[in-house]
């Protein structure tokens, strides 16, 4: 996929790359990493008192409960956002113009507003209407659903648009109804092309659920805060939590890659439809921001 910017090196080139590598390690890697580690060591971030609590059952329980809360919020928001995304995606392709405009406006609006502000809309605004205070959990899930639902709608739309128009015309001409065309021809192919984007958006959703921190929802970061306000080990706690997030997200990405490869090669369907799946990695995981 990558453009090869340099030749396969010959003996001289290999020597130069070796020299460059040694220089890079000596002049960049070692000083950079060394400086950070030295600072951490100097300020006592590696002292046992900071790390031992993670071996204890109490701290582990706090972390596990936080992880559970994170997964609960992210999971519910994911399901709701997928439903909202399908509804909006269908509405954006509706034949009634006002419906289409409304859906397009909704998607544009909620993608333009920061998620923090959407959560505030729920957290501060809904109680003004209903008169009852809102649980932080609900505010977080509402915010995540509105934002990610809009993003999913866009992903669905792009995926369906990527199916060649000739196939739709062919399906219509052999007498399928519009609904059947969507269901039998467009969706099965669209799912394959949009799967990678969909999963990287799931990673985004999981990461964004950390915004529950702002409305005091006891998710993983809040649990971490409970630990470091007691022990005073901000950096070790942040490192442990970062590791948890990274492992989960890499696992998600790994599953997506595996699924994608299976769908692409598993059932020789590609050869049959002649549909060239677009270069899925073209945006290099950009959509994970």
């Amino acid at each position: 996929m990558a453009v090869v910017l340099f030749d396969e090196p010959g003996p001289r080139g290999r020597r130069r790359i070796l020299v460059g590598s040694v220089l890079a390690v000596v002049l960049v890697l070692v000083p950079l990493v060394g400086f950070v580690v030295w600072r951490l060591e100097q300020t006592g971030q590696f002292r046992a008192a900071y790390w031992e609590p993670f071996g204890g059952a109490g701290v582990q329980r706090i972390l596990l409960r936080g992880l559970g809360a994170t997964l609960r919020a992210a999971g519910l928001a994911l399901v709701l956002a997928l439903v909202l995304g399908v509804v909006l995606g269908v509405a954006q392709r509706a034949h009634v113009r006002p419906v289409r405009w409304l859906a397009t406006g909704f998607v544009g609006l909620f993608r333009a507003i920061p998620l923090v502000l959407l959560i505030f809309f729920a957290f501060l605004g809904i109680p003004r209407i209903t008169g009852n205070a809102l649980e932080p959990f609900t505010a977080l899930v509402v915010g995540l659903t509105l934002y990610n639902g809009s993003v999913f709608a866009e992903i669905f739309r792009a995926g369906i648009r990527a199916v060649p128009a000739g196939q739709v015309e062919a399906a219509l001409s052999i007498g399928l109804t519009r609904g059947a065309v969507t269901r039998l021809v467009q969706l099965p192919q669209a799912v394959r092309t949009m799967l990678p984007t969909l999963v990287s958006q799931m990673v985004v959703l999981l990461k964004d659920s950390a915004l529950g921190f702002i409305v005091a929802y006891p998710e993983l970061l809040r649990s971490g805060r409970r630990i470091y306000t007691n022990v005073g080990n901000v950096i070790p706690t942040a490192m442990v939590i970062a590791a948890i997030y990274i492992v989960i997200n890499l696992a998600l990405t790994g599953i997506a890659t595996w699924l994608e490869r299976r769908l692409r090669t598993g059932r020789r369907s590609r050869a049959r439809t002649g549909l060239d799946a677009p270069p899925v990695a073209a945006d290099g995981g950009l959509s994970q921001i």
Partner: protein
């Protein structure tokens, strides 16, 4: 309607909040543009240790929530005896985070340059540095505008995370004013949302003008047609 009156009375404070939002976006944007481009060059270059450094950085940062990066910066750095203002900590956090995505955007721009051009450049004997600086980067520059616009739009929205880290940006002003007068909740929410949409519109207008300005097919710059497809396709929804 006294809610709207409240918003009007506090307009200076609200504008100050957005000024901070813009300051965070611009300073973190410039810093991460420089660092991200550097990182992208490291990732496509021939020196393995630098490639590992770039890949490792992107993998770690991309899979960490921004809120956690903020905790590292605002609460963690003081533990390492680094003392900045809260705004500076926020800029550090946003830069660290956005750099990873700028790197990926620039890399996708580099990858969108036609392989034949690169091969031709190498065939006439240009070394890696000149292949990059004379052939690839000038073309990648244009292809990179759409994805980077997406990244910077995300950065603009991401500055709002600073609300929880003692920075008086737009959302914290909103929180403060809402605390003092709950009847102004909806006017405040709508005003803030409107502010973000204006800023996003400015960003997209700027990107559109820039893209037009570097369009080789405009204003008498018609040399041999340069194949440059694929730039827009890499834009993606960020």
């Amino acid at each position: 309607m006294d809610g709207w009156d409240h918003v009007w009375e506090e307009r200076d404070l609200i504008l100050d909040g957005f000024r901070t939002t813009v300051w965070l976006t611009v300073s973190a944007g410039v810093l991460s543009l420089v660092l991200g481009t550097l990182l992208a060059v490291m990732r496509v270059g021939p020196i393995p240790p630098l490639r590992w450094l770039g890949t490792g950085y992107v993998t770690v940062v991309r899979n960490t929530p921004l809120t956690l990066v903020f905790i590292f910066s605002t609460f963690g750095l003081p533990r390492m005896e680094v003392r900045f203002s809260f705004v500076a900590f926020a800029i550090v956090a946003l830069t660290v985070y956005t750099t990873a995505f700028v790197c990926e955007g620039v890399r996708s721009g580099i990858n969108s340059v036609d392989a034949g051009e690169v091969e031709a450049a190498r065939a006439i004997g240009l070394p890696f540095r000149q292949v990059l600086s004379l052939v690839v980067l000038p073309q990648a520059f244009r292809a990179v505008i759409p994805p980077l616009t997406g990244v910077f739009n995300a950065l603009l929205k991401n500055t709002s995370v600073a609300v929880a880290f003692n920075v008086a940006e737009a959302n914290q002003v909103l929180r403060r004013l809402q605390n003092s007068d709950a009847s102004a909740t909806f006017p405040l929410l709508l005003t803030t949302a409107f502010g973000y949409m204006v800023l996003a519109a400015v960003l997209f207008l700027g990107s559109w003008l820039l893209e037009r300005a570097v369009d080789p097919e405009r204003k008498g710059r018609q040399q041999a047609p340069i194949p440059m497809e694929g730039g827009g396709a890499a834009a993606g929804a960020v």
